[in-house]
């Protein structure tokens, strides 16, 4: 099974029905993507497939063959959103943060608060109350 992961070609030998989440964490060693609810509600496992957010716990790896997958590790450590999340205390326990940042990337530049709220509807945070997250996204975009 071949796909592009954070800009590099990868070839994994797994069941085509393996969850993308498990392939990323266990085969590719990228544990920045977190497992949360397992039912598409929490967004902790969010990654980008061809630039669109998906829940990697609900994606059979066969369906990303030939695509470009981006995880939080693909941003390096100095992405403006990462910096803004730290500066605004947009992360507390941190489980939701990789998914939040990847979803925020797809919101484009200068999203309104309403656009941020709707865009993040599929990413739940149980610590921050969201306000710091919204501030971080507005600051970075």
């Amino acid at each position: 099974m071949r796909f592009t992961l954070n800009g590099r070609e990868v070839d994994v030998d797994v069941s085509p029905l393996a969850r993308l989440l498990d392939v990323l964490r266990e085969e590719c060693g990228l544990t920045g993507t977190k497992e949360g609810c397992g039912e598409g509600e929490c967004g902790a496992c969010t990654v980008l497939v061809n630039g669109e957010v998906v829940c990697s716990c609900l994606v059979p790896v066969a369906q990303v063959e030939g695509t470009e997958v981006t995880t939080i590790e693909g941003l390096g450590d100095e992405h403006p959103l990462q910096r803004a999340f730290m500066d605004e205390i947009g992360a507390q326990c941190g489980i939701c943060t990789p998914g939040m940042i990847l979803t925020a990337i797809t919101l484009g530049s200068n999203p309104t608060l309403a656009q941020i709220r709707e865009g993040l509807a599929g990413n739940l945070c149980r610590c921050t109350g969201y306000e710091a997250i919204y501030r971080a996204i507005q600051r970075a975009s």
């Binding site: 029905l17 059979p60 066969a62 369906q63 509807a121 599929g122």
Partner: protein, 276 residues
């Protein structure tokens, strides 16, 4: 406990013809589109099926077209594609409303209209829309194609007329005259399964469909007839109460659903009063 992947099998057709042959010759197979329902079952260990047919790469099934005044939506069109489609926005804006509230963007990017219909949950958000749109379900098998009116598609709780060798390939939607209306009531607008969902059209003859109040999505034929004949809204609400069979479950209670269904009918009628 999650379902063990190692005992599952995936067949990967390269074309629709390929897929239809596999459905005929390799039965039983469960069609797998965006996996947003089937993989929840996998994650919770309740997945009963073991052999799957991967539809995701069958791009011709994603097309949305308008031909001879008939809107045709491919079964693999995702909620995101429905939201973006100019044709759907113009012809069936209530389908855009339903798609927008179906889940987070992550789910909208993968979940498909055909999957919502095939999954056959009584709470499926797009189903009342297809019911009032009087959509035609286009089913195809290796032997040919047949068209089933949406109102005849479901035969009971999670049961439909689709044969195991058939795929839902598209939905055909005739032009709708009248004002379209949609409202989903759930714990949260964008990310919760419906407690009650209503779609309606205020036209020469009103059309009203409800989800989550019966074993399948239902059209309120008696209510529609009464309103078309000039009955009072109070009488219509009494008929509605007779026509629904909501239950208590983890999302709500039967009594709450009855109240909400009645309120939705009143709200629909009030908000579309200038279209009647």
């Amino acid at each position: 406990m999650r379902t063990a992947i190692s005992r599952l099998e995936l067949l990967q057709p390269r074309s629709l013809q390929d897929a239809l042959r596999m459905l005929r010759d390799e039965a039983p197979l469960t069609p797998l589109a965006g996996a947003t329902d089937l993989y929840v079952a996998l994650n919770f260990g309740t997945l009963e099926n073991t052999r799957f047919l991967n539809l995701w790469g069958l791009h011709p099934l994603r097309r949305v077209t308008l031909r001879e005044d008939m809107l045709r939506i491919g079964a693999l069109a995702t909620y995101t594609a429905l939201r973006r489609s100019r044709l759907v926005r113009r012809r069936l804006p209530i389908l855009v409303s339903a798609a927008r509230e179906v889940g987070g963007v992550q789910i909208q990017n993968r979940g498909t209209l055909g999957g919502n219909v095939a999954n056959a949950s009584p709470a499926g958000d797009t189903l009342p829309v297809l019911a009032v749109a009087e959509a035609i379900v286009v089913l195809r098998s290796a032997d040919g194609e047949r068209r089933v009116p949406f109102g005849e598609f479901y035969t009971g709780y999670r049961a439909s007329v689709r044969r195991p060798d058939e795929l839902i390939v598209a939905f055909e939607i005739p032009e709708i005259h009248g004002r379209q209306w949609f409202r989903k009531v759930g714990t949260r607008a964008a990310q919760a399964i419906s407690k009650v969902v209503m779609a309606a059209v205020r036209g020469p003859r009103p059309r009203i469909a409800l989800g989550s109040v019966a074993p399948t999505v239902i059209r309120l034929a008696h209510v529609e007839e009464a309103l078309a004949g000039g009955a009072s809204l109070d009488d219509a609400v009494r008929l509605l109460d007779r026509d629904i069979q909501p239950i208590d479950d983890l999302r709500s209670t039967a009594a709450y659903r009855r109240d909400v269904a009645a309120n939705l009918l009143r709200r629909f009628w009030a908000e579309t009063a200038d279209s009647g």
